[in-house]
Subunit: 458 residues, 2 copies
């Protein structure tokens, strides 16, 4: 029983779709945040569910860990092979298997990216709304229960996956959910797999809920004198029942970063970026009411983007925020934080965080999906500077503790991976042990993505 | 180790809040559908989570089954004590613990009913939308992943429970979720408990998502020449992105039952009952577009109900459908079916079902939440007539098989309980065994609501 034996058997199964090249192993040993590299022993590129099941059975027989891989855009080290083993890269399982217009659903393979799906859907009048920024794979988004800018209107992956197919740790294949819009038929295994981060099995197919492309879309950016007034405008908008499709906060440092990176021409103060979807008259009404709320809260400098190209530019700016912010200090390590709090605590959470970061002297622009109470700071300690690294980790820790103290969660959308297991006991208490019991029930040997999410003691 | 010892200890703990009276046991040994009575050995009325935990610990120590009880409105025998033991009735844990306006959430005890919660919320401008018809307890609605008329707009319990507290089989208390609108922090234990039907633990507290009371509401009823045209109107409305708050189908037999029961003055043909929520202009626009769709589909006889009392009368009619339909044949046993299919298969599913019921000669009006593809038939075999009983069960079985063949589920909202375990393997295959593995991991002795939902072999 050894990983080497597993690799030999996998080579026989997959031929040159089982790679042991250094470059392939290195590529699959990194993630976008700063973690020590942890390459797998080999990378498998399956082309079907049956192959995935066979890979998992072979790995189980030889005690080799199995790690799933989508596009490698995780920020918490989800797909690092910290105990070696075999990384299963879904790049070759990236097809749209079916689009059912009338049922407003699509059946896809896990390696498909969200942008490719939406390109495919363009002519149907439908779209898949979940948008984490990165052009992530839909399997990865499901495995981390991703969300992003549009969750305030369309929900997260939790709301947009109707069912899935997964290969379990022993190679069994299960299908969860159905094509019906709802069900009360037993434990919600779909929901259990969403956010399980590859620790319970590998997702090999997804049935996704689609939405009608809105008839009319309108977007805007507006400036605020301070954070408090921007957050106040968000809360009032939500409570007024105005259905925002997106509402994003960026702080003064982020606005400055956008100016430097993309010549955005923004005032260097806090901003909200907002979008409305609906009928032409509905969108106009929403935009007008939002405008009044912004003015009342002290906002100004409204710029509307009704033309598709102007909107695309606006959201490109937001999607490139990570790179724009990294460019503030190109020689820095990046620590992306991700907390989510009740809306009533949002101003307090953001202001305390900003003050804490300000005192540290470490650059840390703040931005987030404030309609959900979810915000991030990209902390930028100087590369190689141990004192700054420790200080940045301490800042991130205080953000997490603050979120819990305010009734929130240590991760709104990035997941646990390796980066946040230290907070799981604080957030879930005995519930974390329950997660461990479920893990042991479905993966008694602990071979599925070991070292992530669940308690280490088996 | 015996149930009698558990009851003795529980009497010491609860005094006269532990009842062994025949009437109490009998009341808790029945449900609204036709199942053989199965009374518990005793009924406990706890007043706190701590008491629930102590009850469960005592039962665990003596090997006594534990069954949760809300309002007893289950249609699938969820709360029948088929192996005796102790029924935990949450009637005395029925308080609203907190309403957080700004966060649009409420923290409640599980014995609170949805109507009592909404009465409590009246002055806040907020409401809890999930509406299964019966004035069920919120704990029971969570345990069965209930939905009802408004799910098409506001989602089911899956979408409206942010977090919960539960007592596990060994008496441990866990809290799941948080007060933040979303989270990616590990396995979704909230979702796992929603729909677990008391087999994993007892829910002792719920954090519920509230919604703003709509500024404007408009409801209508309209008639169709046949089922197909009514269903066509529903599909077109959904695909046009018109946000219905409710859209209900009733067939000709149901309309006749409403006339007989409540003098409803309806044409005895298929009908749609619909409701829109939004701003005054939004509702007007939606209503106008819906009117055009109905006319195009061959519908007619629109009656709008804009006044609150007219709307209340309309939905009272719908909510009393169960009693109106039972009154068709007062001496009958009732078998309530509950399937859910993809919208594209709805016409086929309803028409095949109607033809099948028609051939049987057993009364079986059809009605349902067609915006979700969910419909019911209330089958009414003559009480004591074994041949009709067998025929009705066969009809229900064919409905379930038809739903699965069309890509749907054997239960849209009523759950599994005792009534539908026979279909679980057909719907979930190996997934049902996974549910069993999770059950054994969290309740190794099988004492939490035994005989329900999960595979019997341990």
């Amino acid at each position: 029983m050894s990983v080497a034996e597993a690799v030999t058997e996998l080579s026989r199964l997959l031929g040159d779709r089982l790679s042991q090249s250094k470059s392939d192993r290195d590529t699959h040993g990194q993630c976008e945040s700063h973690f020590d590299p942890a390459p797998p022993d080999a990378v498998a590129y399956p082309e079907s569910t049956e192959e995935v099941a066979e890979i998992v059975r072979i790995c189980a027989a030889h005690g080799a860990p199995v790690v799933g891989w989508g596009t490698g855009t995780s920020l918490e080290g989800h797909a690092l092979a910290v105990r070696g083993g075999v990384t299963v890269d879904f790049a070759r399982m990236n097809r749209v298997l079916e689009v059912a217009d009338e049922d407003m659903l699509a059946v896809v393979q896990p390696g498909l990216t969200r942008e490719d799906l939406n390109t495919d859907l363009r002519a149907t009048g439908l779209f898949f709304p979940v948008d984490p920024g990165a052009n992530a794979s839909l399997g990865g988004m499901a495995a981390t229960r991703a969300s992003g800018t549009t969750a305030v209107r369309y929900g997260t992956m939790r709301h947009n996956v109707l069912g899935l197919e997964a290969v379990l740790a022993d190679g069994r294949v299960i299908r969860t959910g159905s094509r019906a819009p709802k069900s009360s038929a037993g434990y919600d295994l779909t929901a259990l797999f969403l956010g399980s981060e590859g620790t319970l099995g590998l997702i090999t197919e997804l049935t996704l809920r689609l939405h009608g492309q809105p008839e009319a879309v309108s977007a805007a950016v507006c400036a605020f004198p301070d954070m408090g007034s921007a957050v106040e405008a968000v809360i009032t908008t939500i409570q007024s029942g105005i259905p925002m499709a997106r509402i994003e906060f960026v702080d003064a440092a982020s606005a400055a970063a956008f100016n430097a990176y993309a010549d955005a021409g923004m005032e260097e103060t806090p901003h909200l970026l907002v979008e409305f979807h609906g009928s032409p008259s509905g969108v106009a009404e929403q935009a007008e009411r939002f405008g009044e709320i912004v003015t009342d809260a002290g906002g100004s400098g409204f710029r509307w983007a009704s033309k598709p190209e102007d909107r695309a530019a606006l959201w490109k700016l937001r999607h490139n925020a990570y790179f724009a912010c990294r460019a503030i200090r190109p020689d820095a390590w990046g620590i992306t934080t991700d907390v989510c709090v009740p809306i009533s605590k949002l101003a307090e959470a953001v202001e305390e965080t900003a003050a804490d970061i300000g005192q540290s002297g470490i650059p840390g622009p703040i931005l987030g999906h404030v309609g959900d109470g979810n915000f991030h700071s990209l902390l930028l300690p100087e590369a190689g500077n141990k004192a700054e690294w420790a200080e940045a980790k301490a800042l991130a820790g205080r953000m997490a503790e603050r979120a819990l103290r305010l009734g929130g969660t240590v991760t709104g959308e990035h997941g646990i991976g390796m980066g946040k297991t230290a907070y799981m006991d604080a957030e879930h208490g005995e519930g974390w042990q329950v997660m461990g019991a479920i893990k042991r029930a479905l993966d008694p040997e602990g071979l599925m993505n070991p070292g992530k999410l669940v308690p280490a003691n088996r």
